[in-house]
Symmetry: C2
Subunit: 227 residues, 2 copies
């Protein structure tokens, strides 16, 4: 949007409802993003293990079966985690989580996507193709595909540890959406019994710092279940 | 970047070199995006079938093995197709391909990501796990994973056809980055011998229109090889 006049965020349609799912990683990314900005919204929890996201009403609303989805006051329904976050960033610009200028925005997006494709997605493949409980969501389950992704998770963790040995946050010198994707992925490793490897001191220290953020702690599914 | 002052694109670091690969889909997405904006850049072609992207020099430059990568005049190296495109959109705002306001930008990003995750990625999984020539890039190859993705490609094509029966372009009423991702994916189906299904008239008509665009035609690997 370079070259355009500044957007008046107060004239944008307001977010009115989040279609959420308590234990899934993508909705948690949006919940953390909202909490960092102080956005609170009504949420409707979908029981994805019972297939709620495949019901015709949900498909008619969103055009897909993806969760989360964000409804706006003008009737727009957005899916795709990062598209939802980018809209919320425009609607509530502070604290900035996606970049203050085009160069920073591109760097943050690069790191965000690396976390998504290199770390979160392989973790999800391991879970969905190795855990019998996931058979309701993933057909066919292919155990060899789960196994092929375990070393990719390990490689992504080693790369991330190396990155965090040289930078305090995933995208550089400040907390951004790239850290949100990364901590959601790292926490989601519980589902595949993959700990942070012992040698990854920079990654472990970063995870402890990020998990101490109120927005991150409040959305931790392990803490919720311990209540 | 809502609420910020307008960016003066002339003050941004200029793109100076594209690390490219002639037949791979992601670099083609960037080449089409640049051609639509009239951006011409020196390019360095990486022979990915010979593993050029795994050489230490490339890793040292980009921090990864991903292609494409864009070098800027200030020394920044960006990877990740969409991050590169978003930077180029700021540097050369017209014609606009990623949205003129936050709501349009979010819709376009949603559709772009649907094309990426629902269509392009399953096609790539089929190719990489079924074609013996891809064994140099994909280890282990898992034929069952290729087969599991064939019906996902078919489902994505049916969804896209239904979308294009109701809208002239993927993201709505005008040509955007979502069309670029989609046409690159559809053309990439040649590698898995998947045609546009006979019943998909809206998809076929859209593909013919998009392929006639000079930026798309000029980057078609089939045409290049026919020369």
């Amino acid at each position: 949007m370079a070259g355009e006049s500044p957007i008046d965020a107060t004239r944008l349609p307001a977010p009115v409802l989040l279609h959420d799912s308590a234990r899934a990683p993508n909705p948690r990314r949006v919940r953390i993003f909202m909490a960092e900005k102080g956005i609170t919204l009504p949420a409707r929890d979908l029981d994805i293990m019972a297939g709620a996201h495949f019901r015709p009403e949900y498909r008619a609303l969103t055009g897909t079966h993806h969760v989360p989805a964000l409804e706006l006051s003008d009737g727009t329904v957005l899916t795709e985690t990062v598209a939802i976050c980018r809209y919320l960033e425009a609607w509530r610009p502070e604290p900035n989580l996606m970049g203050r200028d085009p160069l920073e925005a591109a760097r943050i997006e690069m790191w965000q996507r690396r976390m998504e494709f290199q770390l979160l997605q392989p973790i999800a493949f391991v879970l969905r193709h190795s855990n019998p409980a996931m058979a309701v969501l993933e057909q066919p389950q292919i155990p060899q595909w789960a196994e092929a992704n375990r070393p990719r998770v390990a490689a992504a963790l080693a790369d991330l540890d190396a990155r965090l040995a040289g930078a305090p946050y995933v995208a550089g010198d400040r907390y951004t959406i790239a850290d949100i994707t990364a901590i959601v992925a790292v926490d989601f490793m519980r589902t595949i019994r993959q700990p942070i490897p012992e040698g990854c001191a920079a990654l472990a220290a970063w995870a402890a710092r990020i998990r101490a953020r109120p927005a991150v702690a409040a959305t931790d599914p392990a803490r919720r279940e311990a209540r």
